[in-house]
């Protein structure tokens, strides 16, 4: 049961050309990393400007819009995220099929994903911004985001202090590596995507209909 999904995953991903080397997708626990080049740092900054600009124009740097998402009274966040997911999914898997990009599938660790995810959500409710929209909120002039960002740095360091024991316990519980949704139901990626993408688009249409 444990080995099977990985085989399926590689069979789903391997046929598509260049990006099949050992460094391709699901190298979850990369030990050391190379520093980013100056060119990449500049690119990162430019991509950030675009991202921040879009987040603010989308309204998702506003406390009221983000809290509205959590109070289920404002669905802007869901619409932005779902649309980004659909466009990015089609685009990135297409580029991957053409051998233009490598995938970066984060490892699935059931316990850590659930416990960490719930904690993240509690923090999200209290702060009202997430890490990306918090930076955007600061840019737009919500000064309370500065203190939120200080908290984010303190919380990150707290985790780093505990990262040794965490890595030996919670992170190992239900560690499944880089599995993908089609692996769960034993479907090939090329069969799964043409079913899943229309489902997500359908969900967007329903969301628009119900919420206006």
């Amino acid at each position: 049961m444990n080995a099977e999904p990985r085989t399926l995953q590689s069979s789903a991903l391997l046929p598509v050309g260049a990006a099949a080397g050992p460094k391709s997708s699901d190298a979850g626990g990369k030990a050391e990393e190379k520093p980013d080049s100056a060119k990449q740092l500049v690119l990162g900054f430019l991509f950030g400007i675009a991202f921040g600009f879009l987040l603010q124009k989308g309204g998702v740097a506003k406390y009221e819009v983000l809290l509205g998402a959590l109070l289920l009274t404002d669905f802007t966040v869901m619409k932005v995220m779902l649309t980004a997911i659909v466009v990015g999914m089609v685009g990135i898997f297409s580029m991957h099929a053409m051998g233009l990009v490598k995938l970066h599938v984060k490892p699935t660790r059931y316990a850590a994903n659930v416990i960490g995810g719930l904690l993240f959500g509690v923090g999200f409710g209290l702060l009202g911004y997430c890490p990306g929209t918090g930076a955007a909120a600061l840019g737009q002039g919500n000064y309370d985001a500065v203190v939120g960002i200080l908290g984010l740095m303190v919380g990150s360091h707290l985790y780093a202090e505990l990262s040794g024991p965490m890595g030996a316990t919670v992170l190992t519980w239900g560690n499944r590596g880089g599995i993908m949704l089609p692996d769960l139901i034993g479907m090939r990626l090329r069969v799964f995507l043409p079913v899943f993408v229309p489902l997500l688009v359908g969900a967007l249409f329903l969301l628009e209909r119900w919420t206006g």
């Binding site: 400007i49 991202f51 999200f124 890490p131």
Partner: protein, 173 residues
């Protein structure tokens, strides 16, 4: 519905964020993700106080406490949002959001205290879960990562629970 959303359609913005994701994969070989930036910055500060201890921590051995791509991305987000808000006449310049003030009053101390605690809890959760609303919620889910979909559902489950406790079912309005 009540808060008016943003200046641009959420579908236009979402679509362009999808295109931006494609660009970061193609040009930088990286998915959009923000939370690691705060961890790197925290590590850089911790190194000023105790270099040896900081470098001995597993997390910082795997994620160099240096100015890397995500850190620059995050600096860029601040500037990009500033440009967007300035160009659209939406600069706020406030310490307490209006919705918060409506419910909890306009005391700055309470708002900042809760924001700080929220940030601490959120970052700890992000590190444990392996990403945030960008890294898991957009970049991970669009690559069909099982853990990212689980994390995204849990982000909202924890967030809805907390927000409802704070503001009551369906908000104050």
């Amino acid at each position: 519905m009540s808060s008016g959303g943003g200046a641009w359609s959420p579908y236009v913005v979402g679509g362009l964020i999808g295109v931006l994701s494609m660009a970061t994969f193609y040009f930088s070989d990286k998915p959009l993700g923000v939370s690691t930036a705060y961890a790197r910055l925290a590590g850089m500060i911790a190194r000023l106080f105790s270099k040896g201890h900081t470098d001995s921590l597993k997390f910082y051995q795997e994620n160099n406490p240096k100015i890397e791509w995500e850190v620059m991305l995050t600096f860029g987000i601040v500037l990009g949002a500033l440009l967007a808000a300035w160009s659209g006449g939406e600069l706020t310049g406030s310490w307490v959001p209006a919705l918060w003030a409506e419910r909890f009053g306009d005391g700055v101390g309470l708002r900042l205290g809760v924001a700080f605690v929220g940030g601490v809890v959120m970052a700890f959760g992000a590190r444990l879960a392996g990403g945030c609303t960008s890294g898991h919620g957009i970049s991970g889910t669009l690559q069909l990562s099982v853990g990212s979909w689980i994390a995204l559902v849990c982000f909202f489950a924890g967030g809805v629970f907390t927000a409802m406790l704070m503001f009551g079912m369906g908000g104050t309005r």
